[in-house]
Amino acid sequence: MSVEARAYGSRALAILRDTPAMRDSVTAGALTLDSARRVGYASVDIESWRRWAEQVKNHVLTHLDRYLLQAEDRLRANGASVHWADTPADAAGIVSDLARRHGVRTVVKGKSMLSEEVGVNASLEAMGIDVYETDLGEYIIQLLGEMPSHIIAPAIHRGLDDVRALFHERLDTPRDAAPEVLAAAARRVLRGAFLAADMGITGVNFLVAETGTLALVENEGNIRLTTTMPRVHVALVGIEKLLPRFDDLATFLQLISRAATGQAIGTFVSLIQGPRTAVDVDGPDEVHVVLVDGGRSALLADPEAWEALRCLRCGACLNACPVFRQTGGHAYGWAYSGPIGAILAPALLGMEEGGALPFASTLCGACVEACPVRIPIPRLLHSWRDRLADARLTSRGERIGMKGYARVMTNPRLYRLASLLLRRLPGPVRGGRVTPVLKHWTAWRGALEPSTRPFHELWRDGIT
């Protein structure tokens, strides 16, 4: 996967300037999901659910070593193979090796953000393997050659007309095809792919340590087919995806559905207990579980930022985020966007590559009530900002500016002098044509207009 998280500012600017319809699609889609989430939360005692889920995830994360080994044990006992991948590249290598060993020519995939993080498609395609994304939204963006722009709604930035034009060109549907016609056209292609596929690749929503159960939630049925039809199923699992007990699924499956789409539960829930056994009528001959670290254990050891690992990847914080809603996920330049992407980026990509994203927020806090596992996102964003400034990864101009600002504001005489100067600035300066920081303000909001006299002068002369 190509990562361009550094370029957040210029990508966001380009999206807003060149593709205004994208903003409309993202805003409409995210607001719809956000209101659905509110409705989904309102009909249960959501505060108890969220607090409980937070505690369970905290427990599993603080004993992750033990639970991972337990999960490995149970998976093997169930007949699945377990692979450990230290880096995303290792994970891609493991999947490629499996494909080679099984003579795989066609792969079908269920939507998985971890597979984006790992870059599975590119490495398989480089081997000459046909890879089909089978989630409809993900299939659309695969045809477009784009990255997903949302954790659960990958094509949220595209409207119906975009899909009509795309499918007309690629699948020969009429220019004005109804959504049902478009879906049917995709289904025809994907049905062929399911029948031909030798390997199915998915992520998982949860891995239960107690029973080695892989749990997947979806609405289209494509994951059910991906995990049952091909002879090999490969599940990519981030090591933070564990739950301790099978019983925990009962609430977590409902919680993630309500958070993501407001549904009481997803239309399809698949609980996978290993490869096909003698009594099963379908299912793969082999199940391979790839446990991916990719910087997660280092994040777990980080006393300030580890709570990001509770994330269920439901996308609720993206929908709640007014910054995300202006651009969609492409501005963020890697798999995870929005508030959660901004607190994972510096941890998983490193502070230099991911350091721009913690600043892609106004710290408005709208994500806090949306998160099903109560991740204190604004506090984590702030913690990363502290560290980025300390590591001098912010601009030199900003560092000097902040020093000067603090100097003025800790000296009332300097402050009053600055106040006088502000009112004597020549028009072009106040209009932002001279100083670069001011220009970033004035170009978008017009010239600064201070009060004729500052309040401290009004006070000195007496308020009547």
Binding site: H440, L458, W459
Partner: protein, 245 residues
């Protein structure tokens, strides 16, 4: 007579001077003795939010010194009040006492009126006015100031108009406004595009108002933007000047 220290805040001092004066007039009309500690400057929030802890700490120490004492500190700004009340205690490591002591006696204007003074109505000077209220994020989510401003506006006869985006961030966000001005402006535009043509748009936060006023002016929209303190003074003033009131 209750004494309070007024923190005008740097934005209030420089950009909303008349509105801060209205805040003084309003408090005096409610028999509050207002003092204005002379050394006050800026609470330091832009540095804190941008990750410059050392600079923010210097400004916080300065502010704690300026507002020493026991009088409540009243700010016509939700965001700066949140800085003093919520973020100063997080910022301080060794000086907990002064920081938390200040935090505990810090109030945004409308919450001071309602929660400390027990005001339910200021007067009826806003009768017939259609007002859109923008909930600044820090006032709403950090201070929990939600009903106080709109209750006072409504009690003064204003119609607080339903606005689908009234709780959405305006895009100001301190340095965010100049770091990512295109996104910031798009956020303000979303607010303005959903605004149901009120007589005026108000908020307890100067930064948000600068952002929304600047953006609406640049786009040629005719939106009257007025700080909450001025509207609340107007609510009160009409009743005071009426004979027999």
């Amino acid at each position: 007579m209750l004494r309070v220290s007024l923190f005008a805040t740097c934005l209030g001092d420089q950009f909303f001077a008349e509105s801060v004066a209205d805040c003084v007039r309003l408090l005096r009309s409610l028999d509050v003795d207002v003092s204005f500690p002379a050394g006050q400057t800026c609470c330091g929030q832009p540095a804190w939010n941008a990750g410059y802890r050392e600079e923010a700490l210097a400004m916080a120490r300065h502010t704690v010194r300026v507002f020493e004492g026991s009088a409540p500190v009243v700010l016509p700004s939700g965001s700066c009040a949140a800085m003093l009340r919520v973020f100063y205690p997080q910022l301080a490591e060794r000086e907990q006492d002064g920081f938390t002591q200040l935090a505990q006696r810090t109030f945004e204007l409308s919450e001071f009126l309602v929660k400390v003074l027990g005001v339910t109505t200021l007067g009826d000077g806003l009768r017939g006015m259609r007002v859109a209220y923008h909930h600044g994020c820090h006032a709403l989510r950090e201070l929990g100031v939600e009903k106080e401003p709109t209750a006072l506006l409504a009690a003064a006869g204003a119609e607080v108009v339903p606005w689908i985006a009234d709780r959405e961030c305006c895009g100001f966000g301190g340095t965010f406004a100049v770091k990512h001005p295109s996104v910031s402006a798009a956020m303000a535009d979303r607010k303005l595009d959903t605004l149901p043509s009120p007589d005026c748009l108000t908020s307890a936060d100067g930064g948000c108002l600068l952002q929304l006023a600047g953006r609406s002016r640049l786009r040629g929209m005719s939106v009257t933007v007025r700080p909450l303190a001025s509207l609340l003074w107007q609510a009160r003033q009409a009743s005071l000047s009426r004979p027999g009131a």
